[in-house]
């Protein structure tokens, strides 16, 4: 892989990681604003899932980039 392509892919992965982070943070902020359960717990759980599924995807892609 050329260094230029490698840089572009790395930038795309970083941008996706940032998107996951923002999405997770938004869900947590919304959850804090909810006045009742179980909606708050559900939203916190989806935030956790967003983070963890994103983490697995990003780890996999970085693994390929590093190979």
């Amino acid at each position: 892989m050329s260094p230029r392509v490698d840089e572009l892919l790395e930038a795309a992965v970083n941008a996706y990681e940032d998107l996951i982070r923002r999405s997770t943070d938004l869900q947590r902020t919304l959850a804090r604003g909810l006045p009742f359960e179980p909606a708050r717990a559900v939203l916190n759980a989806t935030a956790d899932l967003t983070r963890d599924i994103g983490a697995v995807q990003i780890s996999g892609v970085r693994w390929l980039l590093d190979s």
Partner: protein, 258 residues
């Protein structure tokens, strides 16, 4: 929901301790008395281990790093020195990358950067860790001795090893949590991003470590800009059992990084 057990000992600048695979925060029993002479030492049980609980048995080092930040929040600590050991060292890398403002300095003990560039243990060690999940806690603790300790320690400090095992067995962990932590370690991949860690970092490793080969420490120290590398000759994976004086060295590193 995830509920984390944490403890705070001593007073002074805070240091957060993150333990490795399958071990509770109690496994820091040799280190806490030394560091707490001059620091506020915060230990906790990782999700699913010891007295902590997890909603899902699906872990990543990212999630475990966020757990660590929750502990800092609960302890009322904005910024702390962080000491991660083995799997805890991987979590500490994620913590420094995901929450850099919360990390004053970093000690990475017997850990690896993840990804294909990490140096794997030999086949015998890998086979043991695969078998270990189906062994009883006592049998696993005994069988892990040749992998966790260097030859000198096994020869000269059998009493220390016995004491480690006695304390480890006080907090057995469910098989599910062990497997989930193994998956988190396997997925861990910070190699590329280590260059972004700005905190002063001490990378510690035993030369005779069979669980995480010492070459990993060299990789980490090369990639983190402000890292210094300290190799403990003759020590294996659980180096603080073999070289208890290293805890004083860590306390001095934190004092220098304050």
């Amino acid at each position: 929901m995830t509920a984390l057990h944490w403890e705070s000992t001593g007073a002074g600048d805070p240091v957060l301790m993150i333990m490795g695979l399958g071990l509770s925060g109690g496994a820091w029993w040799r280190t806490v008395p030394v560091l707490s002479r001059s620091l506020r030492v915060i230990t906790f049980d990782n999700r699913g281990v010891g007295r902590s609980r997890a909603r899902l048995h699906s872990y990543t080092t990212e999630a475990m790093a966020d757990d660590a930040v929750s502990v800092l929040d609960a302890a009322g600590v904005e910024r702390a020195h962080v000491y991660g050991f083995s799997l805890g060292g991987m979590v500490a890398q994620q913590l420094a990358l995901r929450h850099p403002a919360r990390v004053r300095s970093l000690v990475l003990g017997a850990t690896h950067p993840g990804g294909p560039r990490a140096v794997r243990p030999d086949a015998e060690v890998i086979a043991f860790f695969r078998r270990r999940a189906s062994m009883s806690a006592k049998a696993a603790a005994q069988a892990s001795v040749p992998f966790n300790y260097g030859p000198r320690c096994r020869r000269e400090h059998k009493d220390r090893i016995a004491e480690d095992i006695r304390r480890r067995l006080a907090h057995p962990f469910p098989e599910q949590a062990y497997r989930a932590q193994m998956v988190a370690a396997a997925l861990h991949n910070c190699y590329r991003r280590l260059t972004r860690i700005e905190a002063p970092t001490l990378v510690l490793h035993g030369r005779e470590d069979r669980v995480v080969p010492v070459a990993n420490a060299e990789i980490i120290a090369e990639r983190i800009p402000r890292a210094e590398l300290r190799i403990l000759e003759d020590a294996g994976h659980l180096y603080s059992t073999e070289e208890p004086d290293v805890d004083d060295e860590i306390a001095r590193f934190f004092a220098g990084a304050a």
